[in-house]
């Protein structure tokens, strides 16, 4: 039998969630309506909540007014490069770490775990100095390497988790038939670990796509800026083209947010593995 206090409890909880959802979505709702407004309407005080007129053509105009397409393309290059590099390094490492014990395995695992949460802020000046020394400033490589390195830890983690769930009998059967372990890995195991590979790629990709600090520091040519840095530059103190900014933010952010939502299950299980009894 439900008591009154239980029902009050439930109602409060429900109201809380509704409020939280509204608050969480609020900025993106604002971005959405602002993207359809005309500039004069945006610069009115107090702001309107529903646009007076829906200027759908803003979305076409913004690509002409600002180099948004180019910056998105730059983001794509950096993010793709990082995710592929991270994948290339994480898959073999995860494979042997999940299948074998060997001297140094523990140290390696501990090292990987130590840098899972590493932040580039404490090495940004080193990165700048090193990239300058090797004449890599203002190149995409200078961004791809650190971005991949920063996500590598977690990618190895996910890779281990995935390979652990694939029985060894599969490659053993292949090896009995005469092929080497490497071929067995590539031909047999990889095709069935596509969800794991996809998670690694998406995780690394989204992280690199959203990265700002390193891109801002290590690049100087405006035409090489990825979306994060480019949009930062487009926002001046007065005269910001907010309708284009909001539109381009939605274009830049929504696809990766959706992708990220798909893989968040695997991410969280990886992080909470040790904490939950």
């Amino acid at each position: 039998m439900k008591s009154v206090s239980t029902n009050v409890f439930k109602l409060t909880g429900y109201i809380f969630i509704v409020l939280l959802v509204v608050i969480m979505f609020f900025p993106y709702f604002i971005a959405l309506i602002t993207s359809f407004k005309s500039l004069p309407e945006i610069y009115t005080s107090p702001p309107t909540w529903i646009p007076e007129e829906f200027h759908f053509k803003n979305y076409a105009e913004m690509f002409r007014a600002l180099p948004i397409g180019k910056s998105l393309f730059n983001s794509l290059i950096i993010a793709t490069g990082s995710s592929l590099l991270a994948l290339f390094c994480a898959i073999p490492a995860g494979y042997v770490l999940s299948r074998f014990t060997f001297p140094g395995r523990r140290i390696f695992m501990y090292t990987v775990l130590m840098i899972v949460m590493f932040s580039p802020v404490v090495i940004i000046i080193s990165l700048f100095g090193l990239m300058n020394k090797y004449r890599l400033l203002d190149t995409f490589i200078a961004l791809i390497i650190p971005n991949a390195a920063l996500t590598l830890s977690f990618c190895i983690w996910m890779s281990i988790a995935f390979f652990s769930s694939i029985p060894e009998s599969l490659e053993e059967a292949a090896m009995i038939d005469g092929c080497s372990r490497f071929v067995a890995l590539v031909r047999i195991i990889l095709p069935i670990s596509l969800p794991g590979i996809a998670s690694i790629i998406v995780f690394s990709f989204v992280r690199a796509w959203n990265e700002f600090l390193m891109a801002n520091t290590l690049l100087s040519s405006h035409e090489k800026f990825p979306a994060t840095v480019a949009f930062y530059f487009f926002v001046g103190y007065r005269g910001t083209l907010w309708h284009y900014m909001c539109g381009s933010i939605l274009v830049a952010a929504v696809p990766t947010a959706v992708l990220f939502l798909f893989i968040q299950k695997w991410l969280v299980s990886g992080l909470t593995m040790g904490a939950i009894k």
């Binding site: 610069y43 600090l213 040790g274």
Partner: protein, 293 residues
């Protein structure tokens, strides 16, 4: 787990080479480099000029801004983590139960997580605008008179305004973590408590909360470490202003290096930041490696 095979040939180590090289080049070499550089006088591009021992650190500690920045970083970290965890805990508790619209609610609450801090901060920059911003617009509507608080420009409101954005961006992840912790609590324990006559509050205090503690601790550590990634929030909204009042370790390192061109202090502060970061990472490893190895 398949731990029993010991592979004797060196072939296995080859599989680890790409990862090792990448981590070495991308992370460990830069870390070592900054530690060494902190003991040298360096030029604007980080080239070592002469050995000065701990002079950089002494100069850093003696600057007025240093204490201010450390204090602000502490306030930023503590308020962000505590408030976000509190909200996330309640959210997770509610989301743990079935109710109509639950799936949609989850999607909306997790939404900010996949979106770059940069993009969200830019939107907040508009929302916090003194005249055209929606925060003031909303307050104007509520109080039925013109509200023109200069959120980002005033000394009193700038830091709280930023902290709120930080909380906003921390809630999604923390909620997911606590939620998965809740979902691993065995139903039988909760039912046993129910049968014993425990009401929802008591169930929470004596059953759920104790079992959630490991998850909460891990989530807190992760959030503290993640504070180091909040550079875009501050940089885009206030650039550490007004008057360095919203600077934290992250933005201060950047300013020391690239605005004030004081590479020595920047290196010293980076080392300090690194030590803090590594300490919390170490805690994280200790706490999560129990089950894994």
């Amino acid at each position: 787990m398949n731990k029993n095979k010991v592979f004797k040939t060196a072939g296995i180590y080859i599989y680890l080479v790409p990862a090792t090289v990448l981590m070495g080049v991308g992370i460990f070499i830069p870390i070592i480099n900054v530690f060494i550089n902190s003991l040298y006088k360096c030029n604007a591009v980080g080239k070592r000029l002469e050995f000065v021992g701990f002079q950089n650190f002494i100069k850093l500690f003696q600057s007025d801004l240093f204490l201010q920045v450390m204090r602000q970083t502490l306030i930023w970290t503590v308020s962000m983590v505590v408030i976000a965890t509190f909200i996330a805990l309640i959210a997770a508790l509610v989301l743990d139960r079935r109710f109509p619209g639950r799936a949609t609610a989850r999607i909306f609450i997790f939404l900010p997580w996949g979106i770059s801090f940069v993009f969200t901060s830019i939107i907040w920059k508009l929302m916090y605008d003194q005249f055209y911003g929606h925060v003031n617009g909303f307050l104007t509507f509520i109080f039925q008179r013109q509200v023109n608080i200069p959120w980002l420009g005033s000394a009193q409101t700038a830091f709280p305004a930023l902290i709120w954005v930080g909380i906003f961006l921390t809630i999604p992840f923390t909620t997911i973590m606590i939620l998965s912790g809740l979902q691993s609590i065995p139903q039988e324990i909760l039912e046993a408590a129910n049968i014993d006559g425990a009401g929802p509050f008591q169930r929470f205090l004596h059953v759920i909360f104790p079992l959630l503690k490991p998850v909460l601790v891990v989530a807190t550590i992760i959030n503290v470490i993640y504070i180091f990634n909040s550079f875009p929030i501050i940089w885009i909204l206030t650039v550490g202003g007004p008057a360095n009042l919203t600077d934290t370790i992250t933005t201060y390192i950047y300013k020391l290096a690239f605005s004030y061109l004081d590479m020595g202090s920047a290196a010293a502060l980076s080392v300090i930041g690194c030590i803090i970061l590594m300490s919390f990472s170490f805690l994280f490893v200790i706490l999560t490696s129990k089950e894994v190895f």
